[in-house]
């Protein structure tokens, strides 16, 4: 998995490429924690090039959201493909994390 980040005025954009499974989820978790430790509490996660996410990956998203909310911010998801959506639906992720179709909408929501 490759992870890139970009800072906007009110949020950090994180983009991952590849699989988020038990092998790679810790990397993603580390990246989110770095961002949150730096004082940000607004994170947009671009899933356009994520091609797999397991429950281990979903927990990383949900735990990240917990911390963001605690700090009066939020995590949002963007570019969630139909396959990823299936996994997200199994855990009812949409009840906890807003999902945007469009990057500009996601960034513009902060």
């Amino acid at each position: 998995m490759e992870i890139t980040t970009k800072q906007y005025k009110r949020c950090d954009l994180v983009k991952a490429v590849g699989r988020i499974d038990s092998n790679t989820a810790p990397e993603l978790e580390k990246k989110f924690n770095e961002i949150l430790d730096n004082g940000s509490s607004g994170v947009a996660f671009d899933m356009a090039e994520v091609d797999f996410i397991s429950s281990r990956g979903l927990w990383v998203l949900l735990e990240t959201q917990k911390t963001c909310k605690k700090n009066k911010g939020k995590l949002v998801l963007v570019n969630v493909s139909e396959n990823m959506q299936q996994a997200l639906d199994l855990a009812g992720v949409k009840h906890f994390i807003d999902i945007y179709d469009d990057l500009t909408e996601a960034i513009g929501s902060f």
Binding site: R19, D21, N23, S54, A87, L90, A91
Partner: protein, 135 residues
């Protein structure tokens, strides 16, 4: 029955997914179902590595599949710790965010996705997890 053996490590998960993707394709599943099947198998194998082998480095996972007339049967074999799947509670996602417990979705995903999920432990062939997905 096509079969392939993998090292019981998290780095094998991607290779296992590729093997299962082939199986799903041979069985004629569409991309969405094929994805779901990979997810179920990933959860099963993640559990074997994490819990069954407790992340010891020398376990093996053997994946077998059989294309059925109306679906796909997958048998996953390991020689790790056994457990009682009936004692695993169903995860509750209908709670407030702060009350979510970050664990316990794997078995649930497997059961939601596959039509049959059956564990047999400690027989002469190790632990066998048989999952069937029908079309």
């Amino acid at each position: 029955m096509p079969s392939k053996t993998f090292a019981g490590r998290f780095t094998s998960l991607e290779k296992i997914a590729d093997f299962i993707a082939q199986a799903a394709q041979k069985a004629g599943f569409d991309s969405k179902s094929a994805y779901a099947i990979q997810l179920a198998v990933d959860e099963a194998c993640s559990n074997i590595i994490e819990h069954g082998y407790a992340e010891r480095e020398n376990g093996k996972i053997c994946c077998n599949y059989e294309v059925l007339e109306n679906g796909l049967k997958i048998v996953i074999q390991d020689w790790g710790k056994s457990f009682n799947p009936n004692e695993v509670p169903k995860p509750n996602f209908e709670v407030a965010l702060e009350d979510l417990k970050p664990r316990g979705a794997g078995l649930y995903f497997m059961k939601e996705i596959m039509d049959e999920v059956n564990f047999e432990f400690d027989n002469k062939d190790g632990n066998l997890l048989t999952m069937i997905k029908r079309k």
